[in-house]
């Protein structure tokens, strides 16, 4: 096809020229005929002996030369292509020979890896040949094609002869496939990539890639909470399942909430190494979901009799081929899968002014999310005088409280600034946000509210933050907690839809993006049957959605139905659990327990900040209230003390979100109310269901 086009292009001008000459002649004859019909045609014929003769001869000569030229060119091109093809085949076979000499040094290593594909690694050519045929797709046609993937052949340990190699494909190829003509056509068959599952690119890479299985039934991209929950779900439902988790972090799956809460309250000086914290029940645990002995090595995955979960750390998936059901890592290794989960989470957002601020400022900034960030912030916070947290949401407020507590011992100045009027301004109704801000201030944090950062510079080893209203804040270190950018890098190569409203991969109610691809956790913008399309960035949601995705990957087909919850602790007095859509822009109805003179300063408030409160059973729940020793409640008993209560968030008169303010163990009721989705005339009656006056 291409040849024809190029040939035509070359001929076109000539053709045009000759055709115009042709046309002109015809016109002339036509006109002359028309005008002088009576004339004897012979005298005006173009092929007459005089007049037109020379022109015509020239014309014929021109056309003739053109045709000959075209013929010669076409012949040359075809011949050239044939030669090029031959060269390519020779090159491939020579490359293979080189590999075989290498391979003979490490036969034992390649054995377990290739065991799944070519168990009988015999010396003969023919026997391994049928192996590629055993692949689900008849991709043997791919072998002769001039593609590097034609390296299924490297699996055979015997050095094949180059010619025999070229012939062999025709030998082993199923009759229906005629090799040569297939090859001539540009080898763009979609079936071709299926050859890759067989290939491990062993010929090109070092032994490192030998550790990576070339195929895994379940591939989980991302090694966070959602991924781990999915792995567990898959293993529970599919006996002997083999699950591979690929993560670009160096750590095994761990939980994030303690990084901004419990780990900071630990008395253990080596907490940054052990990463262990104390739960509400006094028991210690690590932030890692499971110790390393729970997992198996990636290279053992394929051979594991009862399957298992393997974690490949420090590798990033950079490309996804949905048609071919495979992914490519940053070291060019390819892994094919049957079912895939994308749980890539996100990266912390940064303020634009910070990004423009330069190297010196960036060195003094922490974008907090991972274990490493915790370790470095812990170290930094011990050595500086002043730290500023930009952001008034969950992470910012929790870190501010955690650091504020430290400031009592170390004299560290902790500043928190945000554009809203109060802490959690986007979540809590104004009155509660203000109340919370007062509490945070009591933790030793200097609050600068309604602060919009205009520019940040580094001067005399101090960071200077200039606000839009002119205030200037001087500090040593900045922590930016201004949101999370969902990681949708794979959307482009995988052809997955990205949601424009919420960000993240757009998936349906069953968390499915495409046939064999699911998305869970922070990166999933999913359809919640009750509450509509949303994207949730909380820990419990990662667990719930990860678990659901795992179930659906093993054939369950369940939609997102069990509402996830979240919680936050801001100092010892303020702790709340919430569920559903909790957005301060919605109208709210708050029902609080009014303290009467009969109330004693009894242990009513839970000691927050010492436990993971999550609905899903992968964590411990802080269930029992601990006696609070402060007599404060009785002193502050006036009407506006929001000690404990329930806040309902309404959308079109239906409750879509609930906060349980210092009231615990009532999440099932809250979940039920949201699930029902009914219009309740009197929310005070609904609040009665919670028994807020009791512990």
């Amino acid at each position: 096809m291409l040849k024809c086009r190029t040939v035509w292009r070359k001929l076109a001008p000539l053709a045009r020229a000759s055709s115009t000459v042709c046309r002109q002649n015809v016109r002339r004859t036509g006109l002359t005929h028309g005008r002088l019909p009576a004339q004897v045609p012979a005298a005006h014929m173009s092929t007459g002996p005089t007049g037109g003769g020379r022109e015509n001869q020239l014309y014929f000569l021109l056309v003739g030369v053109t045709c000959v030229g075209a013929g010669v060119y076409a012949y040359r091109t075809v011949k050239g292509d044939q030669l090029r093809y031959q060269d390519r085949i020779d090159e491939i076979s020579s490359r293979q020979e080189k590999f075989n000499t290498e391979n003979s040094d490490t036969p034992s290593e390649s054995e377990p890896v290739l065991a799944a594909e070519s168990v009988e690694a015999t010396e003969t050519q023919v026997v391994p040949k049928p192996e590629p045929q055993a692949e689900p797709v008849p991709e043997s046609e791919a072998e002769p094609s001039p593609e590097p993937q034609a390296e299924p052949l490297p699996e055979e340990p015997s050095p094949p002869v180059p010619d025999a190699e070229v012939e062999a494909p025709s030998e082993t190829t199923e009759p229906p496939l005629a090799e040569e003509p297939v090859v001539e056509a540009p080898p763009e068959e979609p079936a071709e990539p299926h050859a890759v599952p067989v290939v491990e690119e062993v010929g090109e890479s070092t032994p490192v890639s030998l550790k990576v299985p070339s195929h895994t039934p379940y591939l989980l991209i991302g090694g966070g909470t959602a991924s781990f929950a999915a792995a567990r779900s898959i293993r529970a439902r599919d006996p002997d399942a083999k699950v591979l988790i690929v993560t670009d972090e160096p750590d095994l799956p761990y939980m994030r909430p303690p990084l901004s809460k419990e780990l900071w309250f630990s008395d253990d000086p080596s907490v940054t190494e052990t990463l262990r914290f104390k739960q509400w029940n006094g028991k210690e645990r690590s932030i890692y979901f499971q110790p390393a002995s729970f997992y198996i090595n990636p290279e053992e995955l394929e051979g594991a009799e009862n399957g298992g979960v393997a974690v490949l750390t420090g590798r990033k998936v950079v490309h996804m081929d949905v048609r071919g059901n495979k992914v490519k890592l940053d070291d060019d290794t390819e892994i094919s899968y049957d079912k895939c989960l994308i749980a890539t989470g996100g990266v912390p957002r940064n303020l634009q002014v910070m990004e423009r601020a330069g190297e010196e400022v960036m060195k003094r900034t922490t974008l907090f999310r991972k274990v490493d960030d915790f370790k470095s912030l812990d170290k930094v916070s011990r050595n500086i005088k002043s730290i500023t947290i930009i952001g008034g949401g969950f992470l910012g407020s929790e870190l501010a409280c955690a650091l504020g507590r430290r400031s009592n011992d170390s004299g560290l100045e902790v500043i928190q600034m945000y554009p809203e009027k109060g802490n959690m301004g986007k979540v809590l109704p104004e009155y509660l946000s203000n109340w919370t801000t007062e509490k945070v201030k009591r933790e030793g944090v200097k609050i600068i509210s309604e602060a919009l950062v205009k520019s940040v510079t580094c001067k005399d080893d101090k960071v200077e933050i200039l606000l839009k209203d002119g205030r200037l804040v001087k500090t040593d270190h900045i922590v930016a907690a201004v949101g999370l950018e969902p990681n949708v890098d794979l959307a482009k190569s995988a052809g997955l839809e990205v949601d424009s409203d919420f960000g993240g991969f757009r998936v349906n109610a069953e968390l499915q993006a495409r046939s064999n691809i699911w998305v869970a956790g922070d990166a999933a913008c999913f359809y919640d049957i009750r509450l509509g399309r949303r994207r949730v960035e909380h820990h419990d949601h990662a667990v719930v959605s990860g678990r659901l995705a795992g179930e659906n990957m093993t054939g369950a087909n369940k939609p997102y139905w069990h509402q996830s919850m979240f919680w936050s602790d801001l100092g010892p007095d303020v702790g709340y659990e919430a569920i559903g859509i909790v957005d301060s822009s919605l109208p709210t109805v708050g029902v609080f327990a009014k303290a009467t003179s009969k109330d004693t300063p009894r242990a009513a408030t839970e000691k927050s900040g010492t436990g993971i409160r999550s609905e899903s059973e992968t964590e411990d729940t802080a269930t029992s209230p601990v006696a609070s020793s402060t007599p404060a409640p009785s002193v502050e008993q006036h009407r506006d003390d929001y000690g404990k209560g329930v806040i309902f968030y309404l959308r079109d008169k239906v409750v879509v979100g609930i906060i349980l303010w210092n009231v615990f163990n009532r999440m099932p009721i809250a979940r039920k109310i949201i699930k029902d989705g009914e219009e309740h005339a009197d929310l005070n009656e609904v609040a009665k269901l919670f028994n807020i006056h009791e512990d």
Binding site: A231, R232, S233, R235, A236, P239, D240, K283, R285, S286, Y288, F289, Q290, P291, S293, F294, N306, G308, V309, P429, E430, Y431, R547, G550, K558, W561, L586, P587, V589, G590, V591, F592, A593, K594, E615, S616, E617, T618, E619, D620, T621, T623, R639, N665, R666, M667, P668, R671, K672, D676, E678, D682, N684, E685, V686, A687, K688, L689, I692, H693
Partner: protein, 156 residues
């Protein structure tokens, strides 16, 4: 008496204990125990074991998962007079496997899990929500990955 205030779009109500003493007249929709969408307890409506129940923690999914499943299934379907008496071998396999992973299955706790599971699977044949009464006991489930019961299924 309760006290009510409006701040813009937000309504604030303060109620005393007496205000909330009268039973609520709020109507909740009746639960369907067989709803397939709902999170199932340990025992599914058809009598099978829900291996994905959060209450089991990592037991069914860890390295000793298959041994655990065999042992527990054998027990669950056992019709002997002494329930599970024919499952000794399965339980022994499971124990042996767990001993190989002391980090995951701390030895002193592991003894509790099987008897706990025994006593609760009996009661668990009641409505699924109740099956999570198992959960308070299994918080001693082996492994750092403790699965403490969550309130989510306890209807208070």
């Amino acid at each position: 008496m309760s006290y009510c205030r409006q701040e813009g779009k937000d309504r604030i109500i303060f109620v005393t204990k007496e205000d909330h003493e009268t039973p609520s007249n709020a109507e909740l929709i009746a639960e369907d125990p067989d709803d397939p969408y709902e999170e199932q307890g340990l025992i599914l409506p058809n009598g099978d074991i829900n291996w994905n129940c959060p209450c089991l923690g990592g037991m069914a999914s860890g390295p000793c998962g298959s041994q655990f499943k065999e042992a527990f299934s054998c027990f669950h379907y056992s019709k002997e007079e002494v329930k599970g008496s024919e499952c000794i071998d399965n339980f022994r396999n499971m124990q042996e496997c767990m001993q190989r992973y002391p980090e995951l299955y701390p030895q002193e706790e592991e003894k509790e899990s099987s008897p706990q599971a025994d006593s609760d699977s009996g009661s668990a044949s009641a409505a699924p929500p109740e099956s999570s009464t198992l959960t308070p006991e299994t918080d001693s489930t082996p492994g750092p990955d403790n699965t403490l019961p969550t309130d989510n299924q306890t209807v208070s």
